[in-house]
Amino acid sequence: MKDFINRIGLPRFIIIIFLIFLMALAIYLNIPLSDVITDILVRFGMNAILVLAMVPGIQAGIGMNFNLPLGIICGLIGALISIEFKLSGFTGLFVSILIALPLAAIGGYLYGKMLNSVKGQEMTVGNYVGYSIVSFMCIFWLLAPFKSPELIWAYGGNGLRVTVSLESSTSHVLNNFLAFKIGKVTVPTGLLLFFAIFAFLVWIYSQSNKGLSMIVAGSNAKFALSNGIDVDKQRIKGTVFSTVLAAIGIIVYSQSFGFLQLYNAPLYSAMPAAAAILIGGASLKRATIVHVLIGTILFQSLLVVALPVINVIAEGTMSEVIRVIVSNGIILYALTREGGSAA
């Protein structure tokens, strides 16, 4: 038993036990499992790319990229512009991504440069740089020269809406693509496929000579240096990939959610992604696709199952409380473990 716990790690063990307990409770309370499973699939698909964005950062040695909001904002800008031009469906989705990509690449590059001058403090700095960018963008959202009635307040207010509905543009384009039903469970095929593509890209890259240089630079900078690797360049590369994935991630997330959330919404977006990958078994120095898969499934299942169960037995906001405790708890656990030296 002790061996088993050691192998899968104490936090995962607790979360799995808790999840099993919630599942049992759900069945006992006659909550329809098909709805729960459908929800898990959707929430997995919509969050997984954001979690995936953590991988190149950790691999390149910048630790958890708490500056995910940077990429997210680039993604939001892409989506807003595509709506401004009244694009919808897959065109809208791909144009959003195409616009977001260069923005995220430039943003990631500059941010990577900055991280190279604050080695050892990446997470603390990243976190507050992220917050600063989000709050700065709040002013931008107020002043941005968008005209589409979808985007701005119908009357009265200034600037962009707090939430922009995607109903008439890209809402659910991926979720509905090739979606099918098994019994009462709906499988969002497009959404899962889309994630699979990016997961495959990240995986194949990590098998290539370029990717290996990056991973080696992240896991032991001195070793990398003595093997002729330009460590700073690799770190920038990881930061750029992470930022780009975050931009794509939020576009995918939003089409599934049905809304773009502006202003303060991206503020805490890095926390759940960081928590998910840590739950999956990643450390501050090592992360793989497997960690993304396991972590996202466990974390999202927990939230999905907890919601209806707690709605029956307690106050509705409890699901949110559990999210806060679990996600911050796991990050705290990772931070206080020996070894993960980057902060």
Partner: protein, 343 residues
């Protein structure tokens, strides 16, 4: 000294555009100084002890709120209520501070990000206790404190009973003389404290943990004591803050405490490694002056009050982000600066 000067210029220019009469600004600033100074001061000791900015003073604020909820539950008001809440909050704050100190000792070198996540985590626990346990496991006598279904504490608690309990303790002039006196006492205490053996030990630990340890100072214990004092001051600070405001936002009042206090201290010219009562005083003044004038300045300059509001949030995050970047950058520079080869 450059940071406070820049802020002073921004504030002077801004107040020019607000068109607010000087007397109004003066009154407003006196009130704000009185209610915020102790919270900001609570950050000083951890900086001196080398823990950086203690974002976990959120836990101190929680201890203060717990005490206020308890006295409201028993409907104890007035001066008695105020001092009783100070008394009740102290053991909670000591316990929380001890726990925070223990955790931070396990995360040496990344205390700041850890203290921040710890704040979020504690917030989850806090919500769990007050949303789910109050009214169920924890009996609440005063039913007006409970949500309509009898479980959980209401979102906004009226503190009419102890409003201005300290501010108007010495009822000369319209200013909160007693509160200012208490702040002065805390400053004096801090001044005295830094000249004691324990204060000297904290300085030594802050300068160099290793040398302090070799010299026989119990580093971990000294750090814990520093965090405990910080947490206790934060608890008292939060009570004093709330007796001025007059209501508690049960699930929100403590959240921004760490952010605004830290930003205030940094605006005053403090750094991650150096802080004193001067920076606390100057910073609190400048930061809150900015707070008061920025919505109006935004309204008058750009025709939008919201811009000013977002601007001050941006300033809070931005100043923290910037000072963390500068700090990490300098540390990095010092580490890689090439030593001259001696002939």
């Amino acid at each position: 000294m450059i940071v406070p000067i820049i802020f002073l210029i921004i504030c002077i220019a801004g107040s020019f555009f607000t068109g607010l009469p000087f007397s109004f600004l003066f009154d407003e600033m006196v009130i704000r100084l009185a209610r915020n100074l102790i919270l900001v001061t609570s950050l000083i000791l951890p900086v001196i002890t080398g823990l950086g900015l203690n974002f976990a003073i959120t836990l101190g604020a929680m201890a203060g709120q717990i005490a206020l909820i308890i006295i409201t539950n028993y409907s104890i008001g007035g001066t008695t209520g105020f001092f009783l809440s100070i008394l009740i909050s102290t053991p909670f704050a000591i316990l929380f501070g001890y726990l925070v100190g223990r955790v931070l000792n396990k995360a040496k070198g990344k205390e700041m990000i850890t203290s921040m996540v710890l704040g979020f985590f504690a917030n989850g626990i806090y919500q769990f206790v007050f949303l789910l346990l109050c009214g169920t496991l924890i009996p609440v006598k005063n039913e007006s404190l409970l949500l309509s279904n009898g479980v959980g504490i209401i979102n906004t608690i009226d503190l009419a009973n102890i409003k201005y309990a300290l501010d108007r303790l010495i009822p000369v002039t319209k200013y909160p003389i007693a509160t200012l006196l208490v702040s002065l006492l805390v400053f004096l205490f801090l001044h005295f404290f830094l000249k004691t053996k324990l204060g000297q030990d904290m300085r030594a630990v802050g300068h160099d943990m290793e040398i302090a340890r070799v010299s026989g100072i119990n580093v971990d214990k000294t750090r814990i004591i520093s965090v405990i004092i910080s947490t206790v001051l934060a608890a008292w600070g939060q009570i004093i803050f709330l007796q001025n405001i007059g209501t508690i936002n049960t699930y929100g009042s403590h959240e921004q405490v760490g952010l605004f206090a830290v930003a205030s201290l940094l605006v005053g010219g403090a750094t991650v490694e150096r802080a004193s009562w001067k920076e606390a005083l100057i910073g609190t003044f400048l930061f809150h002056l900015l707070f008061v004038i920025s919505p109006l300045a935004g309204q008058n300059l750009l025709g939008n009050a919201q811009i000013g509001e977002y601007f001050r949030v941006f300033v809070a995050y931005g100043v923290i982000g910037l000072s963390l970047v500068l700090h990490a950058w300098e540390k990095n520079k010092a580490r890689t600066r090439l030593r001259e080869i001696k002939e």
